[in-house]
Amino acid sequence: MFNKKQIISLKGSRKFRFLVIAIVFSSLIPLLLNDPFMIHVLTLIAIFAVYTSSWNLLANSGQGSLGHAAFLGIGGFTSSLLAINLGIPPIIGIFIGASFSAGIGFLIGLTCVRLEAWFLAMVTFGFSVIAETLVSQFDDVTHGVMGFRTPLLMPSGLPFYYFALLMAIITVIIIYLLMKSKIGLAFRALKENSSEARMIGINIAKYKLYAFVISTFFAGLAGSLYAHFLRYINVAVFSADNSFKPLMMAVIGGLGTIEGPVIGSIILVSIDSFLPNIDKYLQPVMSPLFSAVSNVGPPLRLLGLGLFLLLVVIFFPKGVASIIKRLYNYLLKQFRE
């Protein structure tokens, strides 16, 4: 799939330098801020980077899923249930979970590849609702309604962070190489204009299915990591919230880019984790205005996120990544002069 030339060409590029800087930075940062909460947030960022990258890969082939939480949940439940019932160590279980998710993704992909954008959005959303219903229906096997404690994958704290980081780096590199390869080229052709792509002899259904299987594999991997990280899983993992998160992260970060999902996860996970701290200052100021709610923090935050998403889509369709890139080029120019 990848030849030597591509890997060599990767080495000299500017992207490669950024990758090295990002890896070094993300490995050192927890040592600098040695604080359990910070490490918790960083781990979540790494897990969501995997999840969002998987969503973004699918979007790159022109398929916007609104139900990726189905695969997050399938991965998480598979790995956790295997560990509990059959004693399979989670370190193997997470890959079985990912593969099982990819298998389901293959079956769902078979129905999805022929659909247009909004049909696909609806059907994928539907699968997440159906997955939730099935897991609740077969509660004897899944124990999903009440939820259960998932086994330990890595000791929490730094070991888990480095493991999640490793997974995130591997995911990002694989997706990067894939997008550079012939398959990635076909994906982009599909996204730009599927009838033209068909004209030049690209088998649309085949490549869309590839995108589906690869994407759901990584979504399942993210789900397994997530379940073992939180040490708990229940049907709430299938919520629409979890389906919309990767979409928001990818769009805000920069749709269709490699770095966008990572930037988006950093922004959104940070908002989710740090902004609740100001709730107690916000409450006395805002509560006379909005007497109907006991805590104005969460709705205000989500409201802001909605506005932010609208502004990004309307004014910066290439996301925050493009702003950062422009800023970097500007600074570089100033510096050289």
């Binding site: 247009e116 699968f127 609702v129 099935l134 909005f290 109907a292 205000l300 506005l307 932010f308 309307i314």
Partner: protein
């Protein structure tokens, strides 16, 4: 369990609940037909309509059914603002952008509703609360019947507007050939605004009817959108009679699933039907063939 009364009651409930979905689906379908736009935040307009109806009813003491007019007017204005400031800017670009804009709007509306009205469930009490007609063993509440009648009246006026008036002609022309209608002197942007406003007003009316029949909270919007979407896929994109038939069939299917399979299947059944249809007919049940 499977006696005649249950079956007839299921059918009537299905039709009643279906008629609210029909109202929502027709509005969504109108917007799609004319603008080629899918507004995934359509259910949020229903939710806002329900809250406006609730406010007018509870604060000003307006009759619950008269509140429909207030809700329609306010939601139409909200619809115009939404069209003007968000959807118009991404119209005709990539389809994914419309989905992203809708998602932003969903977050916006849901949380504005939480801030203004709180998270607790509310209900609009109609003057006919707890009154029902008895036919043999069946008891059908007045509210169901009035809701169905209102839906019928609104659909007839909509069809009249589209088929018999000049504006309707312009809307039909725009839906068929947008550029050609522009050349014929139709102000396409104004038609878009009007279409979106009508669609939104219908969602607002559906909201008040919903609020009279069911308790509601700020998060009820998402599922009706999906159901309305399933209905227009069943009935064919852009076809109003299709949406009506699809809506009634869907309402009956949903009620039957609740009665015969259990409550947790209420929402999953929509998608099961949808997916089965799409496997065999990727463009919908009555959708056009080809590219």
């Amino acid at each position: 369990m499977l006696d005649a009364t249950t079956i007839i009651l299921t059918l009537i409930w299905g039709v009643a609940i279906g008629s609210i979905y029909v109202l929502l689906a027709t509005g969504l379908n109108l917007i799609f037909g004319v603008m080629k736009l899918v507004n995934f935040a359509h259910g949020q307009l229903l939710m806002i309509g329900a809250y406006i109806g609730f406010t007018v009813w509870s604060i000003f003491g307006v009759n619950a059914y008269l509140a429909i007019f207030f809700a329609m007017a306010s939601v139409a204005i909200i619809g115009i603002l939404v069209e003007r400031f968000s959807f118009r800017r991404v119209l005709g670009e990539e389809k994914l952008n419309e989905i992203f804009v809708s998602l932003g709007l969903i977050l916006l509306f849901d949380n504005v509703a939480v801030l203004l009205w709180g998270e607790k469930s509310k209900r609009i009490i109609s003057p006919f609360e707890n009154m029902s007609v008895l036919i043999g063993e069946l008891s059908i509440s007045y509210d169901w019947l009035i809701a169905m009648a209102i839906v019928v009246v609104m659909l007839i006026s909509l069809i009249f507007l589209i088929k018999k008036t000049k504006i309707g002609l312009a809307m039909r022309a725009t839906s068929q050939r947008q550029e050609a209608s522009m050349l014929m002197g139709i102000n396409v942007e104004r038609i878009y605004i009007l279409t979106f406003a009508i669609g939104a007003a219908m969602a607002g009316a559906a909201g008040v009817l919903f609020g009279i029949i069911f308790p509601f909270n700020p998060y009820i919007g998402a599922l009706p959108t999906i159901k309305a979407f399933a209905i227009i896929i069943l009935g064919g994109l852009g076809s109003i009679p299709g949406a009506i038939i699809g809506g009634l069939l869907y309402g009956i299917a949903e009620q039957s699933a609740v009665i015969f399979l259990g409550g947790i299947w209420r929402n999953a059944i929509a998608f099961t039907v949808l997916i089965i249809v799409l496997i065999f007919r990727p463009k919908g049940l009555f959708g056009e063939k080809g590219e």
